[in-house]
Symmetry: C2
Subunit: 332 residues, 2 copies
DNA sequence: CATGCTCATGGAAACGATTCCATCATGTTT
DNA sequence: AAACATGATGGAATCGTTTCCATGAGCATG
């Protein structure tokens, strides 16, 4: 019924050469022009496609790139994945996707699965402080972090958006509008942004206005609603991600906080619906797709040498969700 | 520096048995209780993880599931992918992701890449009319279609949302509000929805009110804007996907068409931002994640027998984007 | 007691590619 | 002309696993 795939041996026999020669011709080794020609012709005729299985076993590594994301449902990571896929496709490499849910344990599991599969190049948005990665690195994996860097020093190159600058311009913008009580709604694993926030705000920082949520919608909503209820005196919010921004808009509407009259809102990450909101959201755009693309480039071209990380620019896109400081809301 | 991975041979030697026995023990074959015990202990001690590479070559297939989506950036497909990943993870199977951009050629390329990798189980949202799939099927792949089915008869099981019922309830809802001139904004590869639209509308159908866009944002916007400009007499629109819905909202705002006063809008697919819109969008919710999960179940448990497809329910979620038929807009 | 059956077991053969190494032909240098 | 360098070529080993098959032990049945 189903005939056997054509193997390198078939090609060798049909072209009356040895298998070694076929392999050399196909992988760019040296061969005389005439045999090269003959082998190529025969291979084309037989529609020969080398089996990745055999090759992988021999060279002890499956091609392919592992991609570990917190949540593929989040459009930010969707765009990031899109960038990785684009680059991988142009290199002909398959991409194995796994989602961690920002859980270190699941992340470790996934890494185990990847090495089991022989995947030796991984792009990850690291969940924890990156201690899990130490053994992985020692095992000889080529790693690149995207969007977040591992907690401590950087043994692993990272492709990041310039959070520091993004936060700074956003805060400058808000303080320029007269805001003083500015809150920060943060998600998991973004210590960078948080410290940038603290730095940018300087003496104005109010620790009670800093709220951290877990990666879920519910958690984000709870954080936003809690913040708005407890601190009616705040006049501006910086949401550290599109999920947080969504939660902020929702909570504001629910609690009758009008944007931007009662409260200004800046959201990290420009998503399509930011423009559809009313008012349209002022955002800090991040080049999510580029982050993925660059990370893939790095992990693919890592010829033994460990490349330096990359910092990509962010952009403040002013729409309609920020206004001058109004009278602060009265407690309900 | 980097020590060799521990192989089955190491385990065999350490446990003083043959490699065959180790393999049997680890894959659930028969063995005497004592040897089983010994092998398991030793394997655990040496932290032995069987290499997928060797296994794959031997059994001529890499485990793993191929997942082919039009666009991972679209949250619908993001949710679908999430479902697939969830199911695959519980089965310990890796998922190889590829995006087709609704392009048959790219789709064919990706399939080629997958078979080269030895992947023999694929979940796909088919782009074209499915002719590409014939040779693939003959090659012995296990295929499941998700979200769309192949054009003709169904040789391939498909997991679908009940588009027919979804369209019908939406149209009933709109006609119930008094609407007669109802437009359809469609995307690629959804002939199902379109025919359902025609059927549900019956004699009211106006072919000029049916506009099809390609899969991009620009194309969707152009389609929506063109429709609104040319036909100011329409009073309701059914958008056949979240991209189309987004375009409709944008175009309506741009052209000063007020929703729902001037025009009612129902969108296929419930996305988080539908609630953030003003007015909040009335949508036909589809169980995207379930579609993915079920598709993965099907493709995993396909024990030779070809399972029947699955039809999952949709739900009309009424929010604020539909109203009774008002006076139709005057041409500009 | 002999025969046959079941079961655990290990050696060895696949699987399909890459790559080391030996061989042989050809051309170049002394 | 002999020695040597160069380059093309094919045989064979290798990667790590599964699985076929033969072997031998233990046990029951005739």
């Amino acid at each position: 019924m189903s005939m056997r795939r054509t193997t390198i041996k078939d090609v060798a026999e049909a072209a009356r050469v040895g298998v070694a020669t076929v392999s050399r011709v196909l992988s760019g080794g040296s061969a005389s022009p005439e045999t090269r020609e003959r082998v190529l012709t025969v291979a084309a005729q037989l529609d020969y496609r080398p089996s990745a299985l055999g090759r992988n076993l021999r060279q002890q590594r499956s091609g392919g790139i592992g991609l570990l994301l917190p949540d593929i449902t989040d459009t930010f990571y969707g765009r990031l994945a899109d960038g990785v896929l684009a680059c991988a496709r142009s290199a002909g490499e398959p991409v194995i996707l796994g989602t961690t849910g920002d859980d270190e344990e699941r992340e470790a599991e996934l890494i185990g699965m990847l090495v089991e599969q022989g995947v030796d190049r991984v792009i990850a948005v690291p969940s924890g402080d990156g201690e899990i990665w130490a053994p992985t690195l020692r095992a000889g994996l080529t790693m690149v972090f995207a969007h977040r860097s591992s907690g401590g020093r950087d043994e692993v190159p990272a492709v990041l958006a310039d959070d520091r600058a993004g936060v700074r311009t956003a805060i400058d913008y808000l303080t320029g509008l007269g805001h003083r009580r500015i809150a920060y709604l943060g998600g998991p694993g973004q210590s960078q942004r948080l410290t940038a926030f603290r730095q940018a705000l300087g003496p104005l920082v109010d620790e009670e206005l800093i709220v951290l949520a877990r990666g879920t919608r519910d958690s984000a909503y709870a954080a936003a609603a809690g913040l708005f209820q407890h601190r009616p005196d705040l006049t501006a919010v910086l949401a550290g991600g599109n999920l947080l921004g969504e939660a902020a808009v929702l909570a504001a509407r629910e609690l009758d906080v009008r944007v931007p009259r009662d409260m200004s809102l800046v959201m990290f990450d420009d998503v399509p619906w930011a423009e559809l909101c009313s008012p349209p959201l002022t955002v800090i755009a991040q080049p999510a797709r580029d982050i993925g693309y660059r990370a893939a480039e790095l992990v693919l071209r890592a010829g033994g040498r460990r490349p330096r990380g990359v910092l990509l620019p962010t952009e403040l896109i002013v729409r309609g969700s920020c206004g001058p400081r109004g009278s602060s809301r009265s407690p309900r």
